[in-house]
Assembly symmetry: C2
Homo-oligomer: 464 residues x 2
């Protein structure tokens, strides 16, 4: 007796994880197949569904007034669309051979099996917690979930002192630094790398470093946190590195996340070198016809390096969900890969990158030239024209664009999209010099800064 | 005796026109070839060289404090780089057979011949002046040159009344409407078309129409100006159409420009259907090895329609100059064509377009689908998120992107660059749905509005 047979001919789609990738997949599958054809059951172990984790720093910083603004769709809204979303229910086992998952009610502890015809794994990421004394002390916060954000906000409200230490200087680290400045804290950022924003080359990271200092943030590079000191009340008092100690009334951990794939691994599903699930172009788990995976628990192909990479970003999770839902719903869609685009801001400083950094190019065996140019976001004579720096990498000989990094003020970051599309189309920097980009004095100098970089890169890879 | 022989082995490059295209060409040629190898003579009939005509509305409106901010390089600066720039000197004849040009000193009337080995024609555009009574009355202004801008500013200072009529609702028209509002005028825009911004489809132009009205601008569509009425002092008093009369203390003409090619035509050089010079990919005038042309006097290939088009924009002029100077200086560069990108703003409304409008697609025989979507410039919950509308055209069956139009608030316009690169790369709308664009809440919803449009267009050209 087939399992679907037991459900009166309806297929059952089971989704593990009720956030961006999982619920996008569920919603898209529902759009294509009505409840008479397809039953959809989704399990989420937390309190919230479909929320913008990327928005948490802005909620903590006060730019977003309330938590619920970050929730794109509540469990009730999903249920109203015939998606059986079971909150506070954690999947504890995937039984691939028999096509079923075991789920546990987090509050009652009750467990039961649910069979599936089609399975979507969207278990997301878990934050890296440093393995050191005091890391779990009151006053030390992660910022990955809405619950984390709420705990941090509560802590902000009750903390008397005004000294905050942010551990990590990547996207979350710098966004949290801004949030804490907005909340009136003195902020120190402790960073393991040479410069903040290790997703940039260090020469571009240095520009971010200077700008952070200009905002009154104390930036400590080349420093690994070894211990969190607590006071008599057990609450955080200071953060220690090998060389120094930084008084702290509050500590925010922003040192990244790892794919949450223990469940998948236990089920024998294939993981890559970054411990993320490996999928094919249709986002199916490799070797499995009826299991898909997407979002922060998978690795993605970087189209420039030709290698799998771990890029936990909400924008990819949403695309994955869309592709999975289309395929699981009987349509056809693919996710060809990423080019490594990311944008961020700290106060009015905008930071963007796409493609490969120098060390990425080295690692994958590409020879390249680099250029760095200074320009402005608008025509130099137009009010509000602000400096921006563009670094560009191009392959030697072929002149193919390999990567772009941008640091600048308002209007700088989204220019990286020009390079993101050019990378996707495998353009050379010389082809880019002829791009017909929007020009008017309020929007750009007559040569857009990206074109200025492309011109200079062209001259370097192909003299004259 | 060869002419270059007479110059001691040095070649002579003659440039007609001292603005963007001409002087970019001269500068780039000079970069590649020193004065010992190449003599460069440039003729400019006006008072200024290398200025940003696109900046004039912002100077008139007061955003740019002084005229000289619009001048990228003065005649003296060009001369310091060994470019013999002769101001107030008009070329009156090109003698292709003998390789020489006749130039006249505008002030003295003296004429003389100058021979060339290589010639660059960069004679620019002339504004369309309506052929009607009163068009030359005091108080009626064009805004093409710095001299025009100065005359208009003088007029603003002396005009008692505060009623202005702008004739034409294209880029210049709407930019001048904003400038005059900034100067405290009541502004009426009289427009021949169905809606303002005829570079957009009328349904998108309607959004501009509404926004202009929201700014307090009176918008009169479907109206052709037939007469300018003058008062007893001879100065403009009103503008008349067939049906109505609009009191006016000041009139600004923004009804476009035509290529200035009488000189080239008289010399037997090839003109296209828009009366612009026809060039090859190296920007050489077709059929002429040693004559180049660029800027507002040439037609350019539209890569989407496959046909020549007249697109007088400073950004193209600069690129033409760069390509011409590289080739004339012994290097190699090409200008492959345009995709029809343009951006503009009126107060905080941003307007952008690239590729083909519906009527362009019709005209060149392309069948297409269109979609129009509403989204926001930032994540909906992020402060400053503003509405933006994106219209997208895709070819039937193939799904190839044909065009994008955007109307919205801050951050909307430059998103058109995504589509401009995608058009250049001949992407389908389905390929676009996978583009790895920069996402963070301050910069974009998790699905960039351009991707939302691409998704919807994909569904339309290829159901499921």
């Amino acid at each position: 007796m087939s399992m679907s047979g037991a459900r009166g001919g309806r297929e059952r789609l089971v989704v593990i994880g009720g956030d961006a990738a999982g619920m996008s997949a569920a919603s898209q599958a529902r759009r294509l197949r009505g409840p008479g054809e397809l039953e959809i059951v989704a399990f989420e172990r937390g309190h919230f569904s479909s929320y913008s984790a990327c928005g948490i720093p802005y909620w903590v910083g006060g730019d977003v007034a309330e938590r619920d603004r970050l929730i794109a769709r509540t469990p009730e809204e999903h249920r109203a669309r015939d998606i059986d979303l079971r909150m506070r229910t954690e999947v504890t086992e995937i039984d691939v051979a028999r096509g079923r998952v075991r789920a546990r009610d987090v509050d009652s502890g009750d467990e039961s099996w649910t069979s599936y015809d089609k399975l979507v794994i969207a278990t997301g990421a878990r934050p890296i917690r440093p393995d050191m004394p005091g890391a779990d002390a009151p006053g030390v916060h992660g910022v990955q979930t809405l619950d984390d954000g709420q705990a941090l906000l509560d802590s902000l409200a009750h903390t008397r002192g005004r000294r905050a230490v942010v551990v990590g200087a990547g996207y979350i680290g710098v966004e949290m630094a801004e949030a804490l400045i907005n909340r009136g804290f003195e902020v120190t950022v402790v960073n393991r790398g040479k410069e903040p924003m290790s997703t940039l080359d260090p020469d571009m990271g240095r520009l971010v470093h200077r700008a952070l200092e200009g905002l009154g943030i104390t930036m400590v590079n080349n420093a690994e946190v070894t211990k969190v000191h607590t006071g008599e009340d057990g609450r955080v008092r200071a953060v220690a590195t090998e060389d120094a100690e930084f008084p702290a009334d509050l500590v925010v951990l922003g040192i990244g996340v790892r794919p949450q794939t223990a469940l998948a691994e236990a089920a024998g599903l294939p993981l890559g070198t970054h411990r993320g699930l490996l999928t094919d172009l249709a986002m199916r788990v490799r070797g499995h016809e009826n299991i898909w995976a997407g979002g922060d628990c998978v690795e993605v192909l970087n189209l420039v390096s030709g290698q799998e990479q771990y890029v936990p970003l909400g924008t990819h999770a949403n695309k994955h969900g869309q592709v999975i839902g289309t395929n699981a719903g009987g349509g056809y869609a693919t996710f060809p890969g990423v080019v490594g685009t990311a944008v961020s801001k700290v106060c009015d400083l905008e930071i963007a990158r796409t493609g490969l950094r120098e060390k990425d190019a080295h690692r994958v065996g590409l020879r390249y030239e680099t250029v760095t140019i200074e320009s402005t976001t608008r025509a130099g004579y137009y009010p509000g024209a602000s400096p921006m720096t563009v670094k560009m990498l191009a392959e030697r000989r072929t002149g193919r664009l390999l990567g772009v990094q941008i640091v600048g003020r308002e209007g700088a970051a989204k220019r990286v999209d020009i390079a993101a599309v050019a990378l996707t189309a495998q353009m050379t920097v010389e082809q880019m010099t002829a791009l017909d980009l929007g020009y008017a004095p309020p929007f750009s100098p007559v040569w857009d800064p990206v074109l200025v970089a492309a011109r200079k890169a062209t001259a370097k890879v192909r003299p004259r």
